[in-house]
Subunit: 396 residues, 2 copies
């Protein structure tokens, strides 16, 4: 038996992927750029085992047995095996490609939270497959075929997914454009919004936007192209204030396109919008105080949750502001409400307190995650990390 | 003393006015099209009196004395007097132009409702001024200078406001494009949403959209131009289904531009979005039943209230659906909750009942107005209608 375990990170786009030019190969209509998040708070973990003794392929996801026949998983598996068969590697036996495979995968964060768990999941699966079959080189093109944004979780720091020009998708890959410490100590605060609304799955939403929104066409052909160039400049020049403005503008535009879709796919709720207002007001204070480098920014994926990027120097202040403006229900302990580093009980400044109405409804957020920017997938060599038993190949 | 009283209607745009090319003259970036609403449920009423005995200009609005020095009111007044002085009319004495003026104005609907009360108000003021000074011909160019969309309230039925090309605004006027009974018995159902959020005033919102949204540029130059042509065709061909789709698409696009504005000016709330979902689901049922002519549509102005256009044949059904999906608070009588014609207590069909989750939060709407399409401003000749005392020129 050959067995391998990997973890892979979640990533959050600052220039959004919204719309495919090829549904089957998962090729996007525009370049996108993301921060890879630390795996301390959130990651997917996958163990892959292959053995001549396995009688069939098996797959367990978050403790439940599922079918491996999912076409997206099969695409990844096929592509990895194709690449493996092309390489004659040390100790790699072509026979292994015919062995059955066991896959066991789990996230250390709730999938129901509406976070992009499939990106971490597919990046993790492809990393583990790549390792078990001895495939080297870029894996982003392969994980892209599992879930588009998964290609960005193959690398750490700031990552750019190039849309590519080829019809076969061979040039639609991801690449690190800046390391995790490019802006040292950047914090990521994710506000998990308590949403009632049923949401349109992102695959369907994208398809509908491409088919019905004329603003979508303009975004893809003009505005997002300009914005990618501008944010690359902001990143290269380490201009955090400009980076924040572009990040918010692109989130705004993506959700504008969703609103322009027919019928609209609206992901942001009243609570999401209340968070954006708070961010703009916070930044106004920072700018008035000539602290543009302490600005913060938000971005929203295809869901109501806000993801805030925050300079380390103001992380505690922002955490306090968020928790004060959006208090937990009285029944919820603060320890349960905040996952990751808690702020100290320092008081908010008068100007920040003034941003808050005073009569705040509790429970608008389910919880808040405080995390950091991080690196790409990891191979865990310690056998205790495997999710599958090394003798039986079944879940521990 | 010369005294005149007019009423003027509210109008609701189906192709939206959002963005000015000239702030002072109030010239829009694109043509817009609206339905003028019946004055039975909602109108502004204005009495204008001029007299050689008045010692100063006076103005009362909704029972409170205000200054007539508001530049927008002064623009209307100046323009009316300029036009009057150019005409030598029967019985019109140039001396009258120097008399002081008393203006008393009131709406028969709450201004706080977030309905476009200024459109009805300025259309009414300009109609009354035109009448008192004997100005004939088109008054839409003048009322436009009070409040842009007021120019559309000068006419009945379906009205188009041409953006015009001239820098002096002389060709930016409104015109009826179809009479009130073009689609006979069209009903208008306005859902007044209980909104917590502070809203950006529309003048500021427009200015910000023009300055910051790249989608705005595309809307104005491309998509709204196409949509105006398409809706004109739908109106000429009496294609109600197409009219509905274009109306919703333009409302969607305007609010997409608002979302794309930096910072965003978001007017629709979760309740607004819940109404749009209900409309799309209702239309799906009608289309499945091959009743495309019974489709309904929504439009949203710079606020959370939904305005629905509904064929008379299904008005009762839609009223029942709205009131069932958005029930009043138990303390609110149905008579108070519905202004205008009430639906009978007929039961909703099973397929419509199925659209509603079952556990509906009460009080998401403040109330519902049920009204019709109507005609333009009216001159009320009966002295009992005057809001000013005919002897003193003071409010009755």
């Amino acid at each position: 038996m050959k067995i391998v375990t990997c973890t892979a990170p979640v990533n959050i786009a600052v220039i959004k992927y919204w719309g495919k030019r090829d549904e089957k190969l998962i090729l996007p209509l525009n370049d996108s750029i993301s921060f890879t998040l630390s795996q301390d708070e959130m990651c997917a973990k996958t163990t892959v085992a292959i053995s001549p003794n396995f009688s069939e392929d098996k797959f367990w996801l978050n403790g439940k047995e599922e079918s491996l026949e999912n076409p997206r998983i099969q695409n990844c598996l096929k592509e990895i095996r194709r690449r493996a068969s092309k390489r004659k590697m040390n100790g790699f036996d072509d026979e292994m490609l015919n062995w059955h495979i066991h896959v066991c995968s789990a996230n250390n964060f709730p999938t129901a939270a509406g976070l992009a768990s499939s990106a971490a999941g597919y990046a993790c699966l492809v990393s583990a497959l790549g390792s078990v079959y001895g495939v080297e080189g870029d894996l982003s093109v392969i994980s892209r075929q599992g879930s588009g944004s998964a290609c960005r979780s193959i690398y750490g720091g700031l990552v750019r997914w190039y849309k590519g020009e080829q019809t076969d998708g061979s040039d639609s890959f991801a690449k690190t454009i800046a390391p995790p410490d490019h802006w040292p100590n950047t914090r990521v605060i994710i506000c998990i919004v308590n949403a009632g609304r049923k949401k349109t799955p992102s695959t369907e939403g994208m398809r509908r936007s491409v088919a019905t929104s004329s603003l979508m066409e303009y975004r893809v052909q003009t505005s997002v192209v300009n914005r990618v160039n501008k944010i690359m400049q902001a990143i290269n020049e380490k201009d955090w204030s400009m980076f924040c403005d572009i990040t918010m503008a692109d989130s705004n535009e993506m959700h504008a396109v969703c609103q322009d879709t027919f019928p609209p796919c609206v992901y942001m709720t009243d609570t999401s919008q209340a968070i954006t207002s708070l961010v703009y007001q916070y930044n106004e204070i920072k700018m008035a105080n000539k602290e543009d480098h302490h600005k913060i920014c938000y971005t929203f994926d295809a869901g109501p949750n806000a993801c805030l990027f925050v300079p380390g120097e103001v992380a505690e202040e922002v955490m306090n502001l968020v928790v004060t403006a959006f208090p937990p229900k009285p029944t919820q302990a603060l320890d349960e409400y905040i996952r990751g580093e808690k702020p100290s009980n320092s008081e908010l400044s008068k100007e920040l307190t003034d941003l808050i109405d005073g009569d705040q409804e509790a429970g608008r957020l389910n919880y808040v995650i405080h995390t950091k920017v991080g690196d790409g997938p990891r191979l865990l060599s310690e056998p205790s990390n495997h999710l599958l038993n090394m003798d039986t190949g079944l879940p521990k």
